[in-house]
């Protein structure tokens, strides 16, 4: 009973704050409405006794929204982020796409013949999750992580306006580097 109340309460909060994302007129409010929605989803995962996954969703989403709010406010052109502004554009197409997506996903969730449970859940679901994620796929993970790091570094290098020649001079021998801002470790 209590679980049902919590589940439906959290579900309502998740949907209502997701709607709020498009209704409010401020970038910060939209961002944090989205964060509230994700936190409600994370807490719903806790109801399923997926402690680690639930807490992780809360952690990642709050962090992501905090960083996103910053970047949106910092990099939006003509500085509208500090002013009240509409959070929707291309309303008709967006409405059609989102209603379609909702109907398809909702119908899928309701119509798929879910299998009934065989056996009991593992006593330590966090360890079981780690085993099933990292056990057989360890090789994949080991390959994927350096590739991801390399992608991030490459992306930053390609996006940065200044190259090492700007920093260290034509012969790469200027020390300390000519940076617009001093680093904190005396370089």
């Amino acid at each position: 009973m209590l679980l049902d109340v919590l589940f439906w309460g959290l579900g309502t909060v998740a949907v209502a704050s997701a709607v709020a994302v498009f209704v409010v007129d401020s970038m910060a409010r939209a961002t944090y409405a989205l964060a509230v929605s994700f936190v409600a989803v994370g807490l719903t995962l806790l109801l399923m006794e997926q402690g680690y996954l639930g807490v992780l969703v809360v952690l990642m989403m709050v962090m992501e929204m905090a960083v996103m709010g910053v970047y949106m406010v910092m990099f939006m052109g003509m500085n509208p982020a500090l002013m009240p502004m509409s959070m929707v554009h291309d309303k008709r197409a967006a409405l059609v796409v989102s209603v379609l997506a909702f109907v398809v996903l909702g119908a899928g969730a309701l119509l798929v013949p879910w299998p009934s449970r065989r056996g009991l859940p593992d006593p330590d679901v966090t360890a079981a999750l780690g085993e099933s994620l990292m056990g057989p796929q360890m090789l994949t993970m080991v390959v994927v992580s350096p590739v991801m790091v390399a992608t991030i570094v490459t992306g930053v290098v390609l996006a940065a306006g200044r190259t090492r020649y700007d920093r260290f001079g034509d012969d790469l021998d200027v020390r300390p580097p000519r940076d617009p801002q001093r680093g904190g470790v005396g370089r």
Binding site: A28, V55, L59
Partner: protein, 312 residues
């Protein structure tokens, strides 16, 4: 040291809250006294300063700048206290704990990320330039301290093979983690000072930006925000006890008293150090965080992982 902890119930939760507020007030008194002695002023008025400030701010009329985002602003100020309460809920006091989560360490990390959002919103909500500058300073510092802080918490969890705070404390029966993971301990303390805007990390609320995130706050709003930051300092110090200082382990005295004594010791250390360290500029903190702290704490994690693997 008992291996298992039992839930403390609603009265225990209330007691934890009261202890948090009392310790926060004590920390503020200590801060005031140290500041008064440093400038050679009278110490007497500092002893009742938190009480006087509370009474003054409760009587003060709340004001807000034009078109401030009142909802987000006030949520942010009040949220800091809530985050601190949720943090101390994880700390076992003797064999009682308010929230016995099997992923308590991750929960703590999620909470300290929540502080990012709250402090930035505190700066944003006021709709004032200095506040916003303060909010952005905090985020710049956060990008510097957060990853080292997270990896610092990996070390004790790894050594205890558990994310449960009580089990991490119980795993230190023979040797406290602070002894063989000093780097992680120091980095954790840096993180605590940073997320409670203390010591070298006061620039988000610095005098050079007229108080930064705190600058437009008045009345009860200012009270809860300042109390929240002080409570965060206490909550972070309290969390260091089960993580690095053996929890309630200690001779003669009962476990709960040891937890309080160790929390007070960590607090004293942080407060004593803050007067000896200069305030760091956010852009300098960034490079220190990523070039010094992060590799250092990763090496610490590696050492711990090797020790755990060798011990089996």
């Amino acid at each position: 040291m008992p291996d298992t902890v039992t839930a403390a119930g609603p009265w225990g939760a209330l007691l934890a809250g009261v202890l948090l507020v009392v310790l926060a007030a004590a920390a503020l008194v200590a801060e005031g006294v140290l500041a008064a002695r440093a400038r050679g002023g009278p110490v007497g008025p500092e002893l009742t300063r938190p009480l006087d400030e509370t009474l003054r701010l409760l009587r003060q009329r709340r004001r807000a700048p034009v078109s401030a985002d009142l909802l987000l602003w006030r949520v942010a100020g009040g949220g800091l206290v809530v985050v601190a309460l949720l943090m101390v809920a994880l700390v076992p006091l003797g064999n009682r704990v308010v929230a016995d989560l099997d992923v308590g360490v991750v929960w703590f990390t999620a909470l300290d990320v929540l502080v990012w959002a709250l402090v930035w919103l505190l700066g944003w909500g006021a709709n004032a330039a200095y506040s916003l500058v303060g909010g952005y300073r905090f985020l710049a510092l956060a990008l510097a301290y957060e990853l080292p802080l997270m990896f610092a918490l990996v070390a004790p969890a790894l050594a205890a093979s558990s994310l449960d705070v009580a089990e991490v404390a119980a795993a230190q029966d023979d040797l406290w983690f602070v002894v063989w993971m000093p780097v992680a301990f120091v980095v954790f303390l840096v993180g605590v000072a940073a997320f409670s805007v203390r010591g070298p990390f006061t620039s988000p609320a610095g005098a050079d930006v007229a108080g930064g995130v705190l600058c437009e706050l008045s009345g009860v709003d200012r009270l809860v925000a300042r109390a929240g930051l002080a409570c965060l300092l206490v909550a972070g110090s309290a969390f260091a006890v089960p993580m690095f200082l053996g929890g309630g382990a200690g001779p003669v005295l009962p476990g709960w008293l040891w937890v309080l004594l160790k929390t007070a010791a960590v607090l004293t250390l942080l407060l004593a150090l803050r007067r000896r360290l200069p305030v760091v500029r956010p852009e300098l903190a960034m490079e220190v965080g990523w070039v010094v702290l992060l590799p250092a704490v990763l090496m610490q994690d590696l050492v711990v992982a090797v020790v755990v693997a060798v011990r089996g």
